[in-house]
């Protein structure tokens, strides 16, 4: 059933602004288009999965078919219907035998391709202080820093490996935060997810390096459905980074990932994303549909989950990294910069669900809109009756560039305990002429003055990012806004 082919380097698109738009020239193992039970079984068998995993997938698939192919419609986004049968659900770089056992066995061309993206995988060139799991299309191709992590007892591997080697942990936590029936895209992901990253940090361990997963869609007409599961056991700490790019294509590509985080007593997870999927060209042609479900459970007492995201890519972004604050005194944080330009659409925000006593959440969302783009912040703060003494602080700021774009703020607040304290601040502004003139009067160009103001607007978020991500994020804003200012 599988076919093999060599992908040409031509994407047929000329767009100099998206420098990650080139294609990897590698051989791929691709399954036929379409989705049915046989495809689900095929994906599972290609990955050599145990029965329990296949059963879980099939349950999800059957549930998905009952949803009647109806995608959620409540978000402030617009796109033509997605043909879920006209899509490839599994693509993997072709490898000999069982796939690489170590980095030495990874196709050198593949390593070179990741080098071009600025993600070196070789031992001698690897990013200092960051362990990288590189995921191409559907599968994990390499994970760096394995030795050091092993010594610390940290498990960081692809989801496929985790299913094989750590089935107990996977079975215990998979779907425990985002059940397979959670929403249309999460259900689809549960049926067909091909790979992703898995991380388990044992009790009392502070993960010695940052962990990073780099996602890359390469194949034409493929959807990417990765699934990430991170568990921080009691008293542990881990910082996890996620980056993503895709080649430029005229057609839209679907990315429907699920990320689940679990923090036990006194544990902390910091999860940072630089989302830079191909946004489409300046006329809105092509680009990735990024429909992602991310949720963390601050399950233990004094646990903490912190999301930081910089979203600049994708034709459409639909994601709400959320926290269930279950443990008493647990903390949830969401820091976000969402930038849209040209015809991009973003509907993003968070959900903070307070269950435990004295739980605290902070939401700081910065939206930047330029061109003809639409940006919506959608956030929910829910204080349940059990959450005595809960507190939330929310701040949503929107910055408009030009007069053809839009910014929307849709907060939902539900308070069912009278002791709760909530604060909500929101602002919408334009880059002011006074600010520009002041900066330009000091010899700085109009364009640089814009970036200075925009960077200043985002500074509160950038300082939440790991150091190596913050500089890249600022650069990314600049590249994404090219042509919109100055």
């Amino acid at each position: 059933m599988s076919s093999q082919k060599v992908i040409s380097r031509q994407t047929g698109l000329e767009d100099t602004q998206y420098k990650w738009g080139f294609e990897f020239d590698i051989e791929s193992d691709v399954i036929p288009k379409g989705l049915n039970e046989d495809i689900v079984r095929l994906i599972s068998s290609k990955k050599g999965e145990p029965d329990w995993m296949l059963e879980w997938r099939l349950k999800a698939y059957r549930h998905w078919t009952k949803l009647g192919l109806e995608e959620p419609e409540w978000a402030n986004i617009h796109h033509a219907p997605i043909d879920f049968q006209d899509m490839i659900y599994y693509a993997a770089p072709k490898s000999k035998g069982d796939g690489p056992k170590s980095l030495d066995e990874v196709d050198p061309e593949l390593i070179e391709s990741f080098n071009k993206l600025g993600i070196p995988l070789e031992e001698q060139k690897k990013l200092s202080g960051v362990a990288v799991d590189a995921i191409l299309d559907s599968v994990s191709v390499a994970t760096t820093y394995q030795d050091m992590l092993e010594k610390a007892g940290v498990i960081f591997c692809s989801m496929s490996e985790a299913i094989k080697n750590h089935p107990d942990i996977v079975q215990k936590y998979l779907g425990s935060v985002v059940p397979y029936s959670d929403n249309f895209y999460a259900t689809l992901n549960s049926a067909v997810f091909s790979d992703g990253s898995f991380c388990y940090v044992p009790p009392g361990v502070r993960c010695p390096v940052e962990l990073m997963t780099y996602f890359r869609i390469n194949e034409v007409d493929t959807g990417q459905f990765e699934r990430t599961l991170i568990i921080a056991d009691e008293g542990s700490y881990v910082s996890y980074l996620e980056g993503c790019t895709a080649p430029m294509r005229k057609t839209h590509q679907l990315h429907a990932a699920v990320v689940e985080l679990v923090a036990l007593d006194n544990a902390e997870i910091k999860y940072s994303t630089l989302q830079n999927w191909y946004p489409g060209d300046k006329n809105g042609e092509g680009g990735v549909y990024n429909f992602v479900t991310k949720r963390g459970k601050a399950a233990g007492v004094n646990s903490k989950i912190s999301w930081a995201q910089v979203e600049t890519g994708s034709a459409i972004t639909w994601k709400y990294p959320s926290v269930i604050l279950q443990g008493d005194n647990s903390v949830g944080e969401f820091y976000s910069v969402a930038l849209v330009n040209n015809f991009q659409q973003a509907d993003t925000g968070t959900k903070m669900t307070h269950l435990g006593k004295n739980t605290r959440s902070t939401i700081i969302a910065k939206g930047i809109s330029a061109g003809h783009a639409e940006n919506t912040y959608r956030g929910q703060v829910k204080i349940m009756p059990s959450a005595t003494g809960a507190r939330n602080f929310t701040q949503c700021d929107s910055l408009l560039i030009g007069d053809q774009c839009g910014a929307h703020t849709v907060p939902y607040i539900e308070v069912r305990n009278p002791t709760a304290q909530l604060e909500h601040e929101a602002s919408t502004s334009k880059v002011s002429d006074d600010e520009l003139f002041y900066i330009q009067q000091r010899g700085i160009s109009n364009e640089d003055a814009h970036y200075m103001i925009i960077n200043g607007f985002c500074r509160g978020i950038f300082k939440e990012l790991p150091f190596e991500f913050a500089a890249e994020a600022s650069q990314l804003l600049r590249v994404s806004l090219e042509g919109a200012v100055g």
Binding site: F437, Q440, Q441, G443, I444, A449, M452, F457
Partner: protein, 268 residues
């Protein structure tokens, strides 16, 4: 002879300048010649057009020049519609009456970007962090502001006096040729006024020129102008030496506004 003409060329020559904001004419025929080494004080009542004059020279976008010229180093700023950053790079500096707050933009980073842009324009190589920091420190000590302010967002949460001193810090750091000081003295207590005036006097020199816009004579006790001009209703109605400022202080602006009173003074 040609050389002599070159050196004699004024730094700034404003001829019959008319400027409007929207439909309202603010400047109604201003003439002013400024040479290197000179300090000109422009005085006048509120709404007379003093700040407009400073702003239009710096290239503030909301002003429309309806007629007239402003030659700076022989180039016509107005007909060239030169953007503000080019004027700045060519040595025109405006100390703002109301310095703008830039949330999230660190003062250090702002100053660095400005110095980098100027040096690049002049074909000088970029300063090392160490060299830059020592320049900033020198300027900071000159205007006596807290070291902590350099790390904070530009002007955000600064007191009125700190904002004005920050303007003079930038003047010292960027070392322009023509300084336009727009009511730099307003809102300053006596100590801050002394500090700001000292900064301006340090800047003063034979290769510099200053146009100092002010409502009050007070700052002129510290900075002695070579010329004083009185701007009323968009026109310079009187020019003279430093003693004109004292006379104004004593007699008020009505004295110059009233043509008969002014005429009496001339014939006296």
């Amino acid at each position: 002879m040609i050389d002599r003409m070159q050196t004699d060329r004024p730094l700034l020559e404003i001829r019959d300048l008319h400027v409007a904001v929207g439909e309202t004419e603010i400047l109604r025929g201003v003439d002013l010649t400024v040479r290197l080494g000179e300090v000109h004080a422009i005085m006048g009542p509120n709404g007379s057009g003093k700040s407009t004059l400073a702003g239009v020279l710096a290239g503030r976008p909301e002003f429309t020049v309806t007629s007239g010229d402003a030659l700076y180093q022989g180039e016509n700023l107005l007909t060239l519609a030169m953007p503000p950053e080019n004027r700045a790079r060519d040595g025109i500096f405006l100390a703002f009456q109301y310095p703008v707050e830039l949330p999230g933009v660190r003062t250090w980073q702002f100053l660095k970007a400005a110095v980098d842009a100027l040096r690049e324009h002049r074909g000088q190589k970029q300063l090392s962090i160490r060299e830059f920091d020592s320049l900033v420190e020198e300027a900071r000590q000159l205007v006596e502001i807290e070291p902590g302010l350099i790390k904070r967002s530009v002007n955000e949460g600064f007191s009125g006096g700190e904002k004005k001193r920050n303007e003079i810090l930038q003047l010292a750091l960027l070392d322009p040729t023509l300084a336009l000081l727009d009511e730099t003295d307003s809102g300053l207590d006596i100590d801050a006024l002394r500090i700001v005036a000292n900064g301006i006097n340090q800047f003063r020199g034979p290769s510099k020129a200053i146009v100092l816009v002010t409502h009050y004579q007070r700052i002129l006790n510290y900075i002695t102008p070579d010329y004083v001009h009185v701007l009323v209703d968009g026109r310079i109605v009187r020019s003279g030496g430093k003693e004109l400022a004292l006379e104004l202080e004593e007699k008020g602006y009505d004295w110059v506004r009233d043509p008969t009173a002014a005429g009496a003074e001339v014939t006296a």
